[in-house]
Symmetry: C2
Subunit: 197 residues, 2 copies
């Protein structure tokens, strides 16, 4: 690949990440091309479809999430590890309007291995936190999906507000995840694949 082409590709990716975060996935390809200082054709040569651009733009974010979990599994305090993961992921999500959509839109086809591993590791995290007696026994890993979808709604707010709102929401939720007594409705096996268009 020629040097200038490589540089263009990188700039497109950077710009795409910025715009997706600012305005969500519905930002037009033409806008990305313009801000990156290239033509539309260039953009489409490197990323044959908008979906592929989205997938590539967010693989980094997914890796970051996985890293959060890896780190949390090493935390000597299982409950703190559990909380930290949820707090960090939700903060990421609140700051990035495209995050949620990319999570649900580009996951099904691509990244399934990554997702499976993440899911498995999160399961371990949950198990550990339950065994320590600090996470309520009827917490379901599917509740993470619940939290992600709920928290994702906040990203339609302006960034500073979304961040603060997310913090408060997460604080509320974590409080009710702590081991207690109340009976909940049964866990919902929500899968991200279920999110419709």
């Amino acid at each position: 690949m020629r040097a200038d082409a490589k540089e263009n590709r990188a700039r497109v990716l950077t710009v795409a990440r910025e715009l997706f975060a600012e305005r969500g996935l519905e930002v037009p390809m033409a806008a990305i091309a313009r801000r990156a200082g290239v033509g539309v054709a260039t953009l489409y040569r490197r990323f044959p479809t908008k979906e592929s651009l989205v997938a590539e733009a967010f693989t980094e974010q997914f890796a970051v999430c996985q890293a959060f979990i890896d780190e949390a599994l090493k935390d000597p305090d299982p409950w703190r590890g559990f909380c930290t993961v949820i707090e960090k992921v939700c903060r990421l999500q609140a700051c990035d309007r495209g995050f949620t959509a990319a999570f649900t839109a580009s996951f099904p086809d691509l990244h399934t291995e990554v997702r499976d591993r993440t899911w498995q590791d999160f399961g371990a995290l949950v198990r550990r936190a339950k065994d320590s007696g600090q996470l309520r026994a009827d917490f379901s890993p599917h509740d993470l999906t619940l939290v992600l979808i709920a928290n994702g709604g906040l990203s339609s707010l302006p960034v500073e507000i979304a961040t603060a709102a997310s913090q408060r929401l997460v604080a509320y939720l974590l409080e009710s995840f702590r081991a207690g007594t109340d009976v909940l409705p049964p866990p919902v096996p929500v899968s991200l694949d279920l999110v419709l268009g």
Copy 2:
């Protein structure tokens, strides 16, 4: 207004409510017209803009929410009244894909009086529940907006799943709204007007 015209208008409204609930506000005007058995022009004669149709289609829902609050204020148990309102509104929201969008999209211009009154009444409900010692003192009425936005994200799921998921989410949240001890991040003065495009 001629009799047939009146009937057509009513049918359009019914169909619009159905489709908005099923598929969200992004359903095309042409689809509504087709299902209502009228032409597009007829639809636009009665509702000069899509926004006006949305506003009209959801005024009933807003009235229903207000009714929930009115009823709750009469409940001898303030905490039960508070919980019931949140549960009912969230169930409504989970079943209706257009609800959240209409809430944020059509509210700013129209319905401001209704909204103000609803807001005031909810404030009274909150006050009552706090005075009874069952609602945590640092609960902010703005937290209702938080709940609505969060819960609104669930409506992108298929209806049955969304309903169950919403129930569980609300159960978690209500549990943490109950008077306790933990310190939260400060309340976020979220306004529905802040929701961007």
